[in-house]
Amino acid sequence: MKTLMLLLVGSLIFTVGCSKEKNYAEREIHLVSPEKIFGFDPIHASDQYSSNEVGKVYEGLYEFHPFKRPYELMPNLADTLPTVSEDGLTYTFKLKKGVLFHDSPAFKDGIGREMNADDFLYTMRRLADPKLQAKGWWLFDDKIMGLNEWRDKNAALDVANYEEPVEGLKKIDNNTVEIKLKRPYPQFLYALAMPYSFVVAKEAVEHHGKEFLNYPVGTGPFILNKFDQSNTIVYHRNPKFREKFFPSEGEEGDDKLGLLADAGKKLPLLDKVVVHFIIESQPKWQNFHKAKVDILEIKDANISQTIDEKRDLKPEHKSKGIRLFLTPQLDITFFAFNHEDPLFKKNIKLRQAMSLAYNRADANKLFYENTAYEAQSVIPPGLGGYRKEFKNPYVKYDIELAKKLLAEAGYPDGKGLPDITVQTRNEPVARQQIELFAKSLEKIGIKIKVGMNTWPELINKVTKKQHQMYTMAWGADYPDAENFLGLLYCPNQSPGSNGSNHCNPAFDEQFKAATVLQDTPERSAMYEKMNETIAHEVPWVFGFNRTKLYLTHAWIKNYKTIEFQHSQVQYLNVDLEVKKELSKKF
């Protein structure tokens, strides 16, 4: 008995002590997803993490160039950029030939067939299918001739009729598609580069039925090998991936950084991709520093562990070959006023006073280690319409001016002003951010209360206009300022994306006129004007345009931070020699 117990304990200790050997034979990469994903159905890939996974197995007609900035579209499943009619309403797309779907029991003999025009048209109808309630429908809602009518008609049926023609979706031949829009929609090609419109095969959808979300069958560079819904995802290189090559061009300086060293090589460069779901920051950080994870986004408390006051990587990390990537994000944080609340609706001076009293320098130091930039208005840097020289006169810390404006607003030293509640989500950092905001505003006599909510509660309060103020962040869906300006467009008010219910008829007219224009200097000038008008109006207390911090190990090649990451992994590579050598340091 004693021997048996000893053996048992011994074997347990042995099992615990046996760590997995690192793989130096395959080009394998380990990534982290900090949130669980909503499966692999492209039409529901609304969050960044689901999109990243969908983008490994599925592809769209276009994709964002992995290295060029500002962001530039390049053909992916499409052979070229489309030909567009003079009125900007008819787009003709030529699809690549010889693109194969992954092998799947959904196809005859289990062999993936060639993707064609029908697949793309089926994908577009599927986005509109009222039974599926695609999260990506907003991109095409009221945009394509006949598609809304098709959607409405099928809403009454038990199963949508995909055979019924749609005026704006036309197959010219097996590899050519024509799409007619109702009105100019300059963001249309961006919509075709988003995972929602990544091409699926009808046979695969029908074969897997409701389980389609767990059995992706795309044309992408990787094939799903294992999907434990909240543990790990494993992909292998798609052996039948078409002839797609690493780009030979990038942004200026990319060549010197070695980012184009793999130019001309067939994609994907990796043999295997493993995604680990790790929610908490400590295990993420520790796994990276044990070289069990290859790329890591740094947030919150880990920022100060990573960089010094000059925003350089700390020496202890440099010595291991770790590299830091600091990249401004296309996003904005804000404290939104509810413009239907009489307190804020017409009292611009109150809003301006609150903005002037907010100590952004303290907030930047405390929450972002000075890596963020003070948002001057609604459009973040990096998008057309942002002017570097423009400084919002109300985005500065000026207590005296704030007090003066508050008195002019009718509340000298805050007298007569009721307490203001700012709603946020039930997270420590969110609470701390409002507490710092409250501390700032206390100096001019304004009392701020914190309203803590679960995420559903917060969304409900915003969509039902049951808030005075709330705080949130918005990230770009695509690289067009329209995506940010729309947050203040009156027709988008709650339950739409304009949660502050801001309405300014002049701004709305400008928005309508500008957002149907193609990306031209004229449109950029209009965006600039709108951005600066909004800055003076202070519809929100503008917060920050944040910076993304990523760490990679030295053996990861071709990494460049990209806002729209879904196609990125196919361009990454691993230097196995460097990995073998440097891994000893971890």
Partner: protein
């Protein structure tokens, strides 16, 4: 006893009706409209209205309540609103890692706590008793999060004795992943368990029958193990068995920090995404398990003390 068991199982009916009503009221009256959360940041008013219709949220409250009752009695929970996954398979997939962690941790911590309690009861009032009681109080005074962070940092990251996080399905592959969270669980449980068991054992130790046993010349160890422990079993069974349903529901904090894909995370995600079918399934499941285990504890009473009759 059979009659008693049947009657207790029949209690499930009103309990499930009550649980269904409570979660229905909480979700439909207090939580509000889930469609904005489910459709994401770009949802339109029209789309939200369509989804409400599709999810059956426009039906009368009575019909909606009957749907909840139906799923409570058929255990057909359908699919998650948020992830679109089949809820039964989500539960099955989450239950395995949760149980891989919680069962060994629970068994070891309970047995260890019993042994320590017997020792401190044996040496009651002496130095070792005081020392262990102090340790228990000190241990309970530190938050669970501090243990988790410190142990993960020191034993997994610094010393490399354990995996930092993750999980592998299948025995013995999961052992390296659950070993450290199991140790943390045991440490967290020992304080309250030892204090409770010690109190229960000491309550018995001063009873007349113990004096009688001593008068008959029985040794202290025999008295403790054969007489005191047996009589102390009823509160111990109640305390222990009633914890079992919570094992099945997972250990949220440990699962989160050690990236164990258990049921704790599933419930939390469902709450954060207004995923009513999953919330409903977890609430109903936990009620059923709770009732079944309270029944088991009743049956165990009769084994521990033949004087107890189940009527």
């Amino acid at each position: 006893m059979a009659k008693y068991i049947i009657r207790r199982l029949l209690y499930l009916i009103p309990v499930l009706l009550g649980v269904s009503l409570i979660i229905f009221v909480l979700f439909n009256v207090i939580a509000g409209d889930p469609t904005a959360v489910l459709l994401g940041k770009n949802a339109t008013a029209r789309q939200m209205a369509d989804l409400r219709e599709q999810l059956g949220l426009n039906k009368s409250l009575l019909l909606q309540y009957l749907d909840v009752v139906k799923s409570a009695f058929t255990f057909d929970f359908g699919r998650s609103w948020a992830t679109k996954q089949e809820i039964t398979s989500m539960i099955k997939q989450g239950a395995y890692p949760s149980l891989c962690l919680t069962i060994p941790a629970f068994v070891i911590s309970t047995v260890l706590a019993m042994l320590i309690s017997l020792v401190v009861a044996f040496y009651r009032g002496k130095g070792i008793d005081l020392f262990i009681r102090l340790l228990c109080i000190a241990g309970m005074s530190v938050s669970a999060l501090a243990y988790i962070l410190a142990f993960q940092w020191f034993f997994a990251y610094k010393l490399g004795w354990f995996e930092i996080s993750g999980f592998e399905y299948g025995f013995p592959d999961f052992i390296p992943y659950i070993a450290l969270p199991t140790i943390v669980w045991i440490l967290l449980s020992l304080g309250p368990d030892v204090r409770f068991f010690r109190t229960v054992i000491l309550d018995e130790i001063y009873q007349d029958y113990v004096r009688t046993a001593r008068a008959k010349g029985l040794g202290e160890i025999r008295i403790l193990l054969k007489h005191v422990l047996r009589n102390a079993m009823i509160p111990i069974i109640t305390y222990t068995v009633i914890q079992i349903p919570f094992l099945i529901l997972g250990a949220l904090l440990l699962e989160n920090f050690f990236s164990i894909p258990g049921l704790g995370g599933i419930t939390l995600n469902a709450l954060n995404s207004s995923d009513f079918p999953v919330i409903k399934a977890m609430a109903i499941l936990s009620s059923v398990i709770y009732i079944v285990f309270s029944l088991i504890s009743d049956i165990l009473y009769t084994l521990a003390d033949p004087r107890v009759k189940l009527k």
